[in-house]
């Protein structure tokens, strides 16, 4: 279990990014962190990834305190961050130094096959589209078999069609090893498509505003009543969180980013 206890983050300039975050994520659970700009979603993910250190509180995975990057925790960033000097297959294999060669090759071939890029294995990242690059980034994390997978708005720069396709690829890979997933997103539809639970965050300082178990069976039908009902509930909570703290122009931008049209 991934456990965040009384987590706070204050930057050197005095900005309070996160305040007293408490969250327990069960094994194999997919949690969607959603909220307006500046509510600390990415900061929270970077703390869990061990890329930044918390000012207060602690993060633990199965009882082990996390203070630096951990082999059981993988992260997919907003940008693919592929290494341009490595081919697609070598990018996927990047984190598998300690794995035996035969197994490494098998894992890479399987992951590439799973994300539909087997025929691109020997290409350079520059030859791939944005969506394909992000698929490689997801595969790079999955081949390391992480217990916890952190996704920092990995689909935000992609068009709706590519995004939907990537959701399927992601769930396909997730089904194999069922890691715990913490997904940061601006998109309510995306959170409801992927997550078991939505965590609505509020800014200044970043904190948890509401937790909403979604309780929809997979595979999820976007046109079903339970799906639409879950979207409305999350949107309602998000709108409530934005109403509570923000001035009008910023609120409008966040509402727009979250797909709120009313």
């Amino acid at each position: 279990m991934l456990n965040l206890a009384h987590l706070s983050k204050v930057y050197a300039d005095g900005t309070r990014a996160l305040s007293d975050i408490n969250l327990a994520v069960r094994e194999s659970e997919i949690v969607g962190l959603i909220g307006g700009s500046g509510c600390g979603k990415t900061t929270l993910l970077r703390l869990i990834a061990g890329l930044d250190t918390a000012s207060q509180g602690q993060i633990s995975l199965d009882g082990e305190i996390i203070t630096e990057p951990h082999p059981a925790i993988g992260i997919v960033f907003q940008e693919p961050r592929l290494l341009p000097w490595l081919t697609v297959s070598d990018n996927v294999a990047f984190g598998l130094d300690q794995v035996a060669p035969a197994e490494r090759a098998a894992r890479v071939a399987h992951a590439l096959d799973k994300i539909g890029l087997a025929e691109h294995a020997t290409r350079w990242p520059r030859d791939l589209s944005g969506g394909q690059q992000q698929r490689v980034a997801i595969a790079r994390v999955f081949v390391a078999n992480p217990k916890v997978l952190l996704l920092d708005e990995p689909f935000s720069a992609l068009d709706a069609f590519t995004r939907a396709s990537l959701h399927e690829h992601l769930l396909g890979l997730w089904e194999e090893t069922r890691p715990t997933v913490v997904l940061v997103t601006h998109d309510v539809q995306e959170a409801v498509t992927l997550a078991d639970r939505a965590i609505v965050m509020q800014p200044k300082p970043g904190r948890i505003f509401d937790e909403l178990p979604l309780g929809i069976a997979r595979p999820r039908d976007r046109s079903s009543l339970p799906f639409e009902s879950a979207v409305r509930r999350v949107m309602g909570a998000l709108d409530h969180s934005l109403n509570t703290v923000q001035t009008s122009p910023q609120r409008e931008r966040d509402r727009e980013a979250a797909g709120l049209w009313w």
Partner: protein, 284 residues
């Protein structure tokens, strides 16, 4: 994992990838006629000057026509004198380049990767860089004598600064986001340097080495003019003292050909290392 095992592992991944997607059949690249464009301007100028002298529009005494320069080059080559001068110059450039580039790479890497080292070294090196290189000549002659050591030292100084600056700048401009990828995968400092920093700085480092090599050829002239009994720089001085502009121009042409060949060799040898680059070359 041992180095050997690691190499095997990586080759296995490449093999797996190759199996998954065999590379497209090798294509025969058509001859690039545009390569010849580079010769057009000097050839036109040379022909025009040759015609001007031939038809009596110019005397060609101070600027001999190409035919006379090539005759001089041929004569120098036939007696073996040209090769003596070329090999002496090349040897000095090679040794000076290796010494200067090595020092530039090591100090540039230290300065780029450690703030403490940068604060310690950089101000002094920047101050030394501001000194005109010719100003070192009297000191080098006093310290190292008038033979090879002082010449090589001057060339090494010329090569050192562009390489040092290029390597330091390249390391400082490595994308933080790529370094974070290395951190997420918990690379050791050594592996971070080998798998992230080195490939990331390679394109800029190669440009720095090319600049260093170019300066090496500039400085070898200064070194050989300051006192040598052989070398293309000596040929220049000799031509001046003997009133032989054809010798001077022959030496200059030899310098141009050697410099271009050395640069092309460096580019050709390092091209496979940066073939992954996504550049505008070919689209402009």
């Amino acid at each position: 994992m041992t180095g050997k095992a690691e190499r095997q592992a990586w080759s296995s991944v490449e093999e797996a990838a190759a199996l998954a997607a065999p590379p497209p059949a090798g294509k025969q690249r058509p001859f690039e006629w545009r390569v010849l464009l580079g010769f057009l301007l000097p050839v036109i100028v040379a022909l025009a000057w040759e015609a001007a002298v031939h038809f009596g529009f110019a005397q060609g005494r101070l600027v001999p026509p190409p035919s006379r320069i090539f005759a001089t080059l041929s004569a120098l080559a036939a007696t073996g004198e040209l090769w003596t001068h070329v090999s002496a110059t090349l040897w000095r450039v090679l040794v000076g380049f290796v010494l200067g580039a090595s020092a530039g790479i090591v100090l540039g890497a230290l300065s780029g990767s450690s703030e403490t080292t940068r604060r310690l070294l950089d101000p002094t090196l920047q101050a030394l860089r501001a000194i005109p290189s010719i100003a070192w000549v009297p000191l080098f002659i006093l310290w190292l004598g008038i033979f090879e050591a002082s010449k090589v030292a001057l060339i090494a100084i010329g090569v050192f600064f562009p390489v040092y600056l290029g390597i330091t700048g390249a390391i400082l401009s490595v994308d933080r986001k790529l370094v974070e990828v290395g951190r997420v995968f918990r690379l050791s400092r050594l592996k971070m340097a080998r798998r992230i920093l080195l490939p990331a700085v390679l394109p800029e480092a190669l440009i720095a080495l090319r600049s260093g090599l170019g300066l090496g050829f500039m400085f070898v002239v200064a070194a050989e003019i300051m006192g040598a009994s052989e070398g293309l720089g000596y040929l220049l001085v000799d031509g001046q003292q003997m009133g032989r502009p054809d010798h001077i121009l022959a030496a200059i042409i030899a310098f141009a050909i050697l410099g271009k060949l050395a640069d092309s060799l460096l580019v050709g040898a390092t091209k496979p290392l940066v073939r992954w680059q996504d550049t505008a070359r070919g689209t402009l």
